[in-house]
């Protein structure tokens, strides 16, 4: 599995997480998805996702995409 192949698998996982929180108001859902990714994903998985996002993030649903952007913003601030 190359880094390129790994991306879609993480996208699938992130979309699954997004679907669980999708019923919540958008800001709450985005925060909860970001929280889940921070709590349960190894940093290299998040880094891979960010890299994938930078390359266009094709296939990533809106809520996990917003959550990843939130994580990216935090990384920049740090």
């Amino acid at each position: 599995m190359t880094r390129v192949e790994y991306g879609p698998k993480l996208v699938h996982l992130a979309n699954q997480i997004g679907k669980f929180f999708a019923h919540q108001p958008k800001p709450e859902a985005v925060a909860n998805i970001a929280d889940h990714l921070r709590k349960f994903w190894d940093p290299r998985m998040r880094a891979q996702m960010l890299e994938y996002l930078e390359q266009g993030g094709g296939g990533l649903d809106e809520l996990p995409k917003l959550a990843m952007e939130q994580i990216a913003d935090e990384a920049v601030k740090k």
């Binding site: 790994y6 698998k9 699938h12 669980f20 889940h36 190894d42 998985m45």
Partner: protein, 942 residues
């Protein structure tokens, strides 16, 4: 050490009732009302002769040995069937009683072989003992009359024999099969002199319904039913009380020994999980411990294509450590990790995660619970505040309604299933939610009120529909919700489930379950009294595993079925120490006691104790380790007691990941499937060779005690300690009790746990701390651990694994009674006599469409791979659904399962795989894509 011989009180303990005082042979006895005279006498140390009475089963009153005289009453009543009464005066010895008892014994002995000196029960035969007790000196009838001495032995069962010549027809075996095991496999066939104990319809044991639990053998007062191991080895000379290493019930056993050899395993009456009962695995399937396949020498090879080379422990440990250090230097600190096993002890699991965090310097630690009950941890922690089942097993005795979801207790948790069946025979109602017609749906004296045979993958939808009925028909417990739960979360959830799309009528279209059945189930669960949920991997091993556990927790909270005896949400854990391995911080995101690694205060406590700085970020989970191995950032792994190449899904993916690593260290009893990809092999130790503790599904911490010297030289915790030292983090434990002391020091829920306490009390259920010094049988009694219970919206999201023209059937997987997990242990015992291969259950319609006959070989194919196995055509499965087990490496069911997983925890979706089946000409292996790939890879490596 001595042989532990528990007192047999003759009849069962009566726990409730006012105290009655009576006099027995001039001594005063005070016992609860309803107690038998026999038991009351035994409790004050007075032995009344008995044969048909045993405290395993209800009194029967047939042998007429336990006769007594009661002042003011005529005759000589049987003390086993006569309850005590206030002021009663009993005499157990008199000339008349002695004469009667001798007469009874004469009759027994006149039809019994007088081969005591060569009998396997010599020295442990109740008939022999009673002959002595009643002073039998002659048999006036002689030994030449009609008798049963030439009756044919039944040696068909691999573990015990039945010798009817020695049978005294006390019916203890028959009653044990009925009352203790609940199988009703035995009966007394014939009448009068022709009466004989008969399995089934006068069949042999092996071909009858007998499940080989051994309760009949344990109940037998003579050598009629006797373990073959005793026949071969003789009577044991000492006992070691320990805990079974099979399923999550955690039965306590006496390992009865001769020197360092196990003669037999006898379930311990004081075991609080099993109360003296066992199953075919725990009682009989321990031969793997001394099997010739045990790999007992450390081994090395630089490439997996090289042959193994036996080396010293020092060389093996030094090589593993140097490779791990080299890999970290080359690829970074996070490039290695470790996996612990739910078959190992708490102390061993604790040490593995400690070594990874402290010596490897990362949090890449995971456990095999990842692939079974990780959703339980996530969901129950989110809803209730703690990652564990809520009840003790005894709680089932107070259930009025039992909801079994995605579990098959009679096969996977048989000892608890026996207690469940007992409660059902007493009148509790049963709801089963399972795609397959498990035995509990209909078996002797048990019938489910409702069976929801849902389409695999629709658990969440069906539970939402049940919740819909609870909410819309106002069947919930609003007072409980207002007092104990977050009302906002309840309101959000209630509005969600009340939506029309969650109605049973709407869900019928998704799940295939008739709406009316879902409504019946909801009404019964919500209004039938104490309702308890028991669930298994049929809930967790789905892409919505965590969602479904939350849905169960929601239901329990909404109906107030939590926080007292007889109710609750209870995960049935597959392996002996799933609960414990999770408790011990084996997951990459949390430290022992389920505290997140990002929690500074918690991390600082561990840092201070361990003398290291800990990484605050979560590490890789098992599937992520494999993914990262293939991606190139994960290169080395230490695997203790886990066979991921056979047990984890998508075999090709797993083995490709292992092949991509530069140092795989496997520590196991056998050269398992994963060891084929290993560079270092370290011999593991069985539960009989080590000290430690296991924690069962009811949070019960129990001692594992060493009965024999570790055959490979070290207990598993010692091996981890050696590796940690070689990696540069010193560990200096002399005994696992010191590890438990450290766990208690650092883990609030374990603060009160010590070996001293466990030895004194037998076991404790966590939380065990200052507030609950003797443990906590039922959780969330005054309030939820998290404060208020939290409801979650559990939207049904269909799995991405879909059927279609190419793969039109859904495969679901499970377990069978005689085999355990991937069969590493049970396949190396005579349990293979019952299950020598994995079979594919196919509905007759599906078989007919494909021209497949019963027993025929079929190719089972999914998008992940293909294998072959033989079919069993049965209506247990619905049309469109096929089912198999994964106990045999030849079948490799996980060649077929996919890498879809639970959204929250990555627990694999073993229970739903779209497949096709077609007739095949040959056996497994000929079409096994996985095996072919393996061969190809090996040739490439060579």
């Amino acid at each position: 050490m001595a042989l532990i011989e528990e007192i047999d009180y003759g009849t069962k303990l009566v726990q409730i009732g006012k105290t009655v005082t009576l006099t027995i042979d001039g001594q005063t006895a005070c016992v609860p009302e309803g107690t038998s005279i026999l038991r009351a006498a035994t409790e004050i140390g007075t032995q009344i002769p008995k044969l048909c009475a045993t405290d395993m089963v209800s009194a029967f009153g047939s042998c007429r040995l336990c006769l007594v005289e009661i002042e003011g009453r005529a005759g000589t009543p049987a003390s086993c069937t006569t309850p005590v009464a206030e002021g009663m005066v009993v005499h157990t010895q008199s000339e008349r009683l002695a004469r009667l008892r001798r007469g009874v014994m004469e009759l027994y002995i006149s039809d019994h072989p007088l081969d005591c000196l060569t009998c396997s029960a010599n020295g442990n035969c109740e008939l022999q003992t009673m002959a002595g007790a009643v002073g039998l000196r002659e048999v006036r009838y002689g030994m030449d009359g009609a008798n049963h001495l030439q009756a044919k032995k039944d040696v068909s069962n691999p573990y015990f024999q039945f010798d009817p010549a020695k049978c005294i027809l006390c019916s203890r075996c028959v009653r044990a099969c009925e009352e203790v095991q609940g199988t009703f496999a035995l009966t007394i066939a014939g009448r009068g002199f022709a009466s004989v104990v008969s399995p089934g319809m006068e069949e042999e044991f092996i071909s009858s319904e007998c499940v080989s639990c051994g309760a009949c053998v344990q109940a037998c007062p003579t050598a009629t039913l006797m373990e073959k191991s005793v026949l071969e080895m003789g009577q044991p000379e000492h006992s070691v009380v320990t805990t079974c290493a099979y399923c999550g019930v955690g039965c306590t056993f006496k390992a009865e020994m001769r020197g360092e050899n196990v003669v037999r395993m006898v379930p311990f009456k004081d075991g609080k999980a099993n109360h003296g009962h066992s199953c075919v695995k725990g009682r009989f399937a321990w031969g793997y411990a001394t099997h010739r396949d045990r790999a007992l020498k450390p081994m090395l090879r630089e490439k997996t294509s090289d042959p193994w080379r036996e080396v010293s422990w020092e060389e093996a440990i030094a090589y593993a450590a140097s490779e791990f250090k080299r890999i970290q230097a080359q690829y970074g600190k996070g490039s290695i990790g470790g996996i612990s096993s739910s078959r190992c002890t708490n102390e061993e699991a604790y040490l593995v995660q400690k070594m990874v965090r402290a010596a490897f310097g990362n949090n890449n630690t995971d456990t095999c619970a990842r692939v079974c009950h990780s959703p339980t941890g996530y969901a129950l922690s989110s809803t209730f505040g703690t990652s564990a089942g809520t009840q003790d097993f005894d709680s089932v005795e107070q259930c009025d309604v039992i909801l079994v979801v995605g579990a098959n207790p009679t096969d996977a948790h048989p000892v608890f299933a026996s207690r469940m069946k007992k409660r059902l025979r007493e009148g509790a109602k049963l709801i089963v939610i399972d795609p397959r017609r498990i035995d509990l749906v209909r078996m002797p004296h048990v019938k489910a009120s409702v069976h929801l045979a849902l389409q695999p993958g629709t658990n969440a939808a069906v539970l939402d529909a049940i919740a819909h009925v609870v909410v819309t028909e106002h069947l919930g417990n609003e007072a409980f919700v207002r007092e104990r739960c977050e009302v906002d979360s309840y309101m959000r959830w209630a509005l969600f489930v009340a939506e029309e799309r969650n109605s049973p009528e709407a869900v019928e279209k998704i799940s295939g379950v008739p709406a009316e059945l879902m409504r019946q189930a909801a009404r019964l669960y919500a209004t039938g009294g104490n309702a308890a949920i028991y669930y298994g991997l049929g809930v967790t091993e789905h892409s919505q595993g965590s969602t479904t556990v939350m849905a169960l927790a929601n239901l329990a909270m909404a109906t107030g079925n939590i926080g007292r005896k007889g109710v609750g949400v209870n995960p049935l854990r597959g392996q002996n120490n799933v609960q414990g391995s999770c408790d011990m911080g084996s997951f990459p995101h949390e430290l022992p006691g389920y505290r997140h690694i990002s929690n500074l205060a918690v991390r600082q406590a561990f840092e201070a104790d361990w003398g290291v700085t800990l990484d605050h970020e979560p590490g890789l989970r098992i599937p992520n380790m494999i993914d990262c191995a293939l991606e190139g950032s994960f290169k080395g792994i230490y695997i203790q007691g886990e066979d991921i190449a056979q047990s984890d899904p998508d075999w090709q993916h797993i083995t490709a990941g292992l092949s991509a690593m530069e140092c795989v260290v496997v520590q196991d009893l056998f050269l398992n499937e994963t060891a084929k990809y290993a560079h270092v092999f370290l011999p593991g130790s069985t539960f009989l060779e080590k000290d430690g503790t296991f924690t069962n599904a009811e949070r019960r911490i129990q001692r594992v005690r060493r009965a024999m010297t570790p055959k490979g030289g070290y207990q598993d915790w010692e091996v981890t300690q050696l590796l940690s030292r070689a990696m540069g983090h010193a560990m200096h434990y002399n005994h696992p009790s010191e590890i438990m002391d450290e766990i208690a020091r650092l883990t609030p829920a374990f603060a009160g746990v010590s070996y001293e306490k466990l030895d004194k009390l037998g076991s404790v259920q966590w939380p065990c701390n200052e507030a609950m010094p003797e443990g906590t049988p039922v959780m969330h009694v005054p309030g939820f651990v998290r404060g208020k219970g939290r409801f979650f919206v559990t939207e049904y999201v269909p799995t991405d694994e879909r059927t279609g023209p190419r793969f039109p059937l859904l495969l679901t997987t499970g377990r069978i009674l005689t085999q355990y997990n991937v069969g590493t242990q049970t396949r190396r015992t005579s349990n293979v006599d019952w299950h020598s291969e994995d079979l594919l259950e196919v509905h007759p319609n599906d078989a007919e469409h494909r021209g497949i006959k019963d027993g025929a070989w079929v190719k089972l194919e999914s998008r992940a791979g293909a294998t072959t196995l033989r079919t069993k055509i049965t209506e247990r499965v619905a049309p469109g659904v096929v089912y198999t087990t994964f106990h045999h490496p030849e079948t490799m069911a996980n060649v077929v399962t996919t890498d879809y997983s639970d959204w929250a925890t990555d627990c694999p979706e073993y229970k739903v795989t779209a497949v096709q089946i077609s007739p095949a000409g040959g056996s497994a292996g000929t079409l096994n894509a996985g095996r072919m790939l393996e061969k190809q890879m090996r040739s490439e490596q060579a």
